[in-house]
């Protein structure tokens, strides 16, 4: 092959192609099969080198041993990359159901921005909910207000509460419930909005969609064109300006938006027969909450907040861990189907948030029920139940990890929650009608007066305390 082609290929893989070079390469590839083959072989070589050398396994070995056959080991012997590739999937699937905490944690890529969330109230979700937040994959539940999102490709969504929206990628989202208006400029042609009964492909337009009772989607095109694929039949409807259609799981019928009647019940929450919702907070029954610090009587303390901080190992005095006690009496004789534990964060004014990176918080359940009688005030580090040395450590013999959530750097307010099968199972396996949870920050701060996170406790004057929302009953009730 020619020197010219080698030069072009080299520039391609090193990203140094000039526009003229790239045009020349296109020309060669599109007209000459032999060149096309050469280029593909070259790119394949580049890709294979990245795969096999990439994590350092191969040539590091290669230098020490002459056993070159080890250079391209079989996939099974590549635990590192395997874990990297599939670890998050396994994690996500272990937290089946809503368990998106792990999902988001390992999907750091962001592709949209929550531009405006003024006056919005949010329910438990897995994404940040403050105005200006960058968003990646995850789920948002808007209780009230209108939130405006702008995707990097230019697509704009206005979501009206109550609504349940899942962001999947830079050009796809799923509206599980509620209403949204999408406006897609030319750059966002092909933006998808999925609903339970149909898939909407935007072709440069503005349209509204409303999902009711978890399965019916009403689509109205304000301007432009939307292609809607009916989920069950696969039939594609081309909707033009001014047209509307209703998609149920089985049918697709023209829609007269003026005929829309008022709604009598909140249809965004519907539970199967026999199941009901129970809410328990640290302010109900014998509930209690507090926190423990490495050193008692620290100057910085709070009566209304649960303070949480993982300090550097040489500053153990400043470690703080939250304790949450919930009175489970309302659950006696029922079976928990799913559970969500929610914390409301609020600024503490203690330390510099820029000295703490994006943080992971872990929630542990106290398995040793003899220790449930802890004091909410003036708890001591040494006697705090299930505690261990270290800013994020707990005693593994007396506790069980139930889930994690993330708080981005600098975010000092908002709602964080976790909803895992482990949490529901933990609640079901309590013998006493009481549960103790420990909240720790796994992420270590810089040690330079780094921020202390704070979550509203039961005595907070305005914000909700740590709260469990539970779906109980249904199959297996009375266990």
């Amino acid at each position: 092959m020619t020197d010219e082609l080698r030069t072009l290929c080299s520039a391609t893989v090193e990203g140094t192609l000039t526009p003229e070079q790239s045009q020349r390469l296109e020309e060669l590839v599109l007209t000459d099969p032999a060149t096309r083959r050469f280029v593909v072989e070259y790119l394949n070589l580049h890709a294979t080198l990245k795969w096999s050398v990439g994590d350092g396994a191969m040539l590091a070995n290669g230098r020490e041993s002459s056993d070159a056959t080890r250079a391209l080991p079989k996939p099974a012997s590549r635990p590192n990359r395997f874990v990297k590739w599939t670890g998050w999937i396994v994690a996500a699937s272990l937290l089946v159901g809503v368990g998106i905490a792990a999902y988001t944690r390992s999907q750091p890529q962001e592709f949209a921005r929550l531009v405006d969330a003024n006056g919005c109230k949010w329910e438990s979700g897995t994404l940040p909910t403050e105005s200006g937040a960058r968003l990646g994959t995850g789920r948002l539940r808007l209780a009230e207000g209108v939130a405006r999102f702008v995707f990097d490709n230019g697509a704009e969504l206005r979501l009206e509460g109550p609504a349940d929206l899942e962001l999947q990628s830079g050009n796809r989202c799923t509206l599980h419930a509620g209403r949204l208006v999408a406006r897609c400029p030319e750059s966002a042609r092909g933006f998808f909005v999925e609903t339970p009964s149909a898939s909407l492909k935007d072709l440069g337009t503005e349209f509204g969609v409303s999902v009711t009772d978890g399965k019916t989607s009403d689509v109205q095109v304000f301007e432009g064109r939307v292609d809607v694929t009916h989920g069950k039949t696969g039939q594609v409807e081309q909707l033009l300006t001014g047209r509307g259609m209703r998609f149920t799981p089985d049918t697709a019928t023209p829609l007269d938006p003026k005929a829309e009647g008022p709604r009598t019940v909140d249809e965004t929450v519907s539970l199967p027969a026999g199941q009901r919702l129970i809410t328990i907070s640290t302010a109900s029954g014998k509930g209690k909450d507090g926190y423990v610090a490495g050193k008692p009587n620290l100057l910085h303390k709070s009566d209304v907040l649960l303070l949480v901080k993982c300090s550097t190992p040489n500053n153990p005095d400043y470690h703080r861990k939250g304790y949450i006690g919930l009175d489970l009496t309302p659950l006696v004789g029922t079976r928990v189907q799913s559970a969500t534990l929610t914390f409301t964060q609020t600024p503490t004014g203690m330390g510099f948030a820029s000295e703490v990176p994006d943080s992971t918080f872990s929630v542990y359940g106290l398995t040793d029920e003899k220790l449930n009688g802890w004091p909410a005030d003036n708890m001591l580090w040494e006697s705090a139940p299930g505690n261990a040395m270290g800013g994020a450590a707990v005693n593994p013999a007396k506790t069980q990890l139930l889930g994690q959530f993330q708080v981005r750097q600098g975010v000092k307010a908002g709602v964080s929650s976790l909803s895992t099968p482990e949490l529901a199972e933990f609640l079901n396996s309590r013998k006493q009608p009481f549960a103790t949870f420990i909240l720790v920050r796994d992420t270590v701060g810089s040690g330079r007066n780094d921020y202390v996170h704070g979550f509203a406790g039961r005595d907070h004057p305005t914000l909700p305390p740590p709260t469990l929302k539970l779906v109980v009953g249904g199959a297996g009730a009375g266990n």
Binding site: W51, G62, R81, V90, D152
Partner: protein, 176 residues
């Protein structure tokens, strides 16, 4: 729960079996490593999400590559604001050729390790730096105390050597 666990197991097994193929495929279409990683992550996500529509017993690799190609196209679209290097036609031609030549390319990947082992140690080191460091060619150049220009030329030469070696090795195998 059991059904779901089985399905998860199946997915993880299939992805593990095909991860190299998928990785190489995406890297072939998107030579920049960071970009390719991004596309791969999106691909994984879609594969997992759409796994319900995948029929057990059919060709997972082919399905995964189709999904990956769509992700590459979607990613390019997103990047439209940046300077686009190649046309969709070009990418389609490369994607098709990659699939058509899959068996031959797999063979080439297989013997590449032998060819790497035959390189003089300084060249092998250069390849190692280039393909392990996240950094660009500048970082490699400063590590080996050469100019960027010289490093660039050296890497280009080494890749050429490797390609020739791969072709020669396979030709010899076929004669044997």
């Amino acid at each position: 729960m059991t059904d779901n666990t089985t399905r998860v197991d199946e997915f993880v097994r299939l992805l593990a079996q095909n991860q190299r193929r998928l990785f190489v495929y995406v890297h072939t279409l998107v030579p920049n490593h960071a970009d390719a990683e991004e596309v791969l992550q999106n691909t994984n996500l879609v594969l997992w999400r759409e796994f319900g529509t995948f029929e057990t017993g059919t060709n997972f690799a082919a399905w995964a590559c189709r999904v990956a190609l769509n992700q590459v196209l979607a990613w390019r679209k997103k990047r439209q604001r940046d300077r686009l290097q190649f046309s969709d036609d070009f990418l389609a031609a490369i994607a098709k050729e990659t699939q058509d030549a899959n068996d031959a390319l797999e063979e080439q990947s297989r013997v590449l390790s032998d060819c790497l082992a035959k390189l003089p140690s300084d060249q092998r080191e250069l390849i190692r730096l280039r393909y392990t460091e996240e950094g660009a060619i500048e970082a490699v150049a400063s590590r080996v105390r050469r100019t960027v220009e010289a490093t660039y030329r050296a890497l280009s030469r080494i890749r050429h050597t490797l390609h020739e070696c791969v072709i020669r090795t396979l030709a010899r195998e076929n004669r044997a």
